[in-house]
């Protein structure tokens, strides 16, 4: 059985029917991880611990105490702290760091315990590679080497959740968690040909998620299908008293609309009748690669064939989302990363003169170049004399960006556009010029600034056979509706089923 090609929705059925055990599935993926080390998708694997969890999952299943996802293996982005596995955020700063507690996402998906009775019973396969502290768009900023794209090993996986994306695409995990601060779930999902969703801000707890930019960070699932993402998001999302920004209206069945038509009474040939899909003209302007534009336009046509109506909308401040984001995110990062001082945990320099020198040397040695750069930018925009011109101005424009979306949603139910201007670029192609890389985030940043849910869905391939993703953006708390649209599209297309030829 090719379990690495099997969506978790079917894996759950096989487990419930006792056609396979969690231990067999876990062993299967651990072997694939070992054979697939060339992608550099994982930073820490512990077969013994995974199999131990799988044995417990099997006993839950045989004693009738399992829930829907019990026994299914999952990989966690290394930004989530986990007991048992190292939690490094792909930084030298946290090399060998082992957390005394599990992130809420990890606990929600993990085995049920007395303290955590609602655990979904999934098995942790290990921790996936990422850009250091989630800062990057190509995974080349990892202190432990870049992740290679399973579709072409000379190309980047995207970032920052590149390890999770490559693990799913290469069949080294059935599904994985990711985080998205400016596109870090959607862009690697697009580059690796998988499906991913960043929920509305506040849906998924940030407790135990190593912080980058707290008002933008949001976790979500990365899987093979919209249905798989809906199942994982349902288990991930909860109202968490340990996160003051966790919303009370979290925790719903995000899969509830998947097999329904958009409006009651539509024919099965036109399940999306009544759906208005907005195409923002700024998302199809200069800078978009032709094959990406063609693929997204073809996806729009496919949605139209399913009954949807296409409408032109405008998000006038799209281009400005880049400077706004690259002021606000570094500002928050400079504050969040001040905790790394070499005192309580993390890297400490071996030689220093005094306490201040110890801070400086530990931080300079522990952080990589991009992280240092963002700390410097953030410190500058928050410093005396620059705060109003940069930080405050960015926050005011952020309000305009959020309001522009509301104006667009008066005319449409979902917004459709590309995830990124181009497909996965060659390793090293953009790493010399940070601004060049920042410009690649143009279509994903605005939804984080506004806190909206958005997803990436495979919709085609470039001339060099690299995957292309379309982006679907919904209004606040409309994840279940977004997933419904994506699921209906995936019933009528097979882009998400394609597998890289290098992945047997």
């Amino acid at each position: 059985m090719s379990w690495h090609k099997t969506p978790i929705a079917l894996m759950a059925k096989a487990l419930a029917a006792k056609e396979v055990s969690s231990q067999e599935l876990t062993q299967y993926f651990l072997e694939r991880i070992k054979a697939g080390q060339r992608w550099n998708a994982y930073l820490d694997v512990n077969a013994h611990l995974s199999l131990e969890q799988a044995a417990i999952a099997d006993s839950l299943i045989s004693s009738g105490k399992s829930s829907r996802l019990t026994g299914i293996p999952v990989a966690h982005k290394d930004v989530f702290v986990t007991r048992g596995w190292k939690s490094t955020a792909a930084s030298k700063m946290l090399a060998n760091y082992v957390s005394p507690f599990d992130a809420t996402v990890v606990a929600n998906l993990g085995l049920p315990t007395e303290q955590n009775p609602h655990g979904a019973g999934m098995v942790c396969l290990g921790k996936t590679n990422m850009d250091e502290f989630a800062m990057g768009s190509s995974n080349e900023n990892s202190a432990y080497g870049p992740v290679l794209n399973p579709w072409n090993a000379e190309h980047v996986s995207g970032g920052s959740s590149g390890g999770s994306a490559a693990a799913v695409a290469a069949g080294l995990a059935p599904i994985a968690t990711g985080t998205d601060t400016g596109g870090s779930i959607r862009q690697p999902a697009a580059f690796c040909g998988i499906t991913g969703i960043k929920p509305s801000y506040g849906r998924v707890s940030r407790y135990g998620m190593i912080a980058y930019a707290s008002s933008l960070d949001q976790a979500g699932p990365m899987g093979k299908t919209a249905e798989d993402c809906a199942l994982l998001l349902t288990a991930m999302s909860s109202h968490d008293l340990r996160d003051s920004t966790s919303l009370a209206d979290s925790g719903e069945d995000y899969a509830r609309y998947l097999n329904q038509s958009w409006q009651a009474g539509s024919s099965s040939a036109k399940p999306l009748e009544g759906l208005r899909v907005g195409l923002p003209k700024e998302f199809f302007a200069e800078g978009l690669a032709q094959d990406v534009a063609n693929a997204v336009q073809a996806a729009a046509k496919a949605l139209q064939d399913l009954g949807a109506t296409l409408v032109d909308v405008s998000l006038p401040k799209t281009k400005l989302s880049i400077p706004v984001y690259y002021v606000l995110a570094p500002a928050e990062a400079s504050s969040n990363l001040s905790r790394f001082d070499g005192v309580r945990y993390g890297h400490r320099a071996s030689e220093y003169r005094d306490l201040s020198d110890m801070y400086k040397k530990s931080r300079t040695e522990g952080f990589g170049a991009e992280v240092r750069r963002r700390i410097l930018i953030g410190t500058y925009v928050l410093s005396h004399g620059y705060y109003d011109a940069y930080y405050l101005q960015a926050q005011k424009i952020r309000r305009i960006i959020a309001a522009d979306f509301q104006a667009a949603f008066k005319q449409c139910d979902v917004i459709l556009g590309p995830v990124a201007p181009d497909v996965a670029w060659r390793l090293g192609e953009k790493s010399k010029d940070p601004v060049q890389m920042y410009l690649e985030d143009i279509y994903t940043l605005s939804t984080n600034l506004a806190g909206l849910p958005a997803m990436s869905v495979p919709c085609g391939f470039s001339a060099q056979n690299l995957p292309i993703g379309m982006q679907l953006i919904g209004n606040y708390f409309s994840e279940a509706k977004l997933l419904q649209v994506a699921h209906q599209y995936q019933q009528a297309s097979d882009w998400h089923l394609r597998q890289a030829s290098e992945v047997a």
């Binding site: 008293l241 400077p323 690259y326 005011k396």
Partner: protein, 97 residues
């Protein structure tokens, strides 16, 4: 932004940049700030800053918990990744001579 600014913010960031490193990072920061300068053309008079996406939807009530002990002692686990420790305390270089 000038080289002096780089060294000043490096100090504020508790980072230790050599002259060569500061010179290398300066043009990169200048490029970022020329991108950021595009924001200045936007008229934002009368607009409130949006510090947080939820504030766009609703007031963010400060969630409060009951004033009860909820945590047990995790001292040993919490100190397992300390770079230096002694007698159950985090060890730092002497600060008072």
């Amino acid at each position: 932004m000038k080289l002096d600014d780089v060294q000043r913010i490096a100090h504020l960031s508790s980072l230790d940049l050599s002259q060569a490193e500061a010179e290398a990072v300066l043009p990169q920061l200048q490029a970022v700030f020329s991108l950021v300068a595009e924001m200045q053309a936007v008229d934002t008079s009368g607009l409130q800053p949006l510090a947080h996406p939820i504030l766009f939807l609703r007031d963010l009530a400060q969630p409060l918990r009951l004033d009860q002990v909820s945590e047990t002692d995790h001292r040993v686990e919490n100190m397992q990744s300390a770079p230096a420790q002694q007698d159950g305390y985090f060890l730092v270089p002497r600060v008072i001579e």
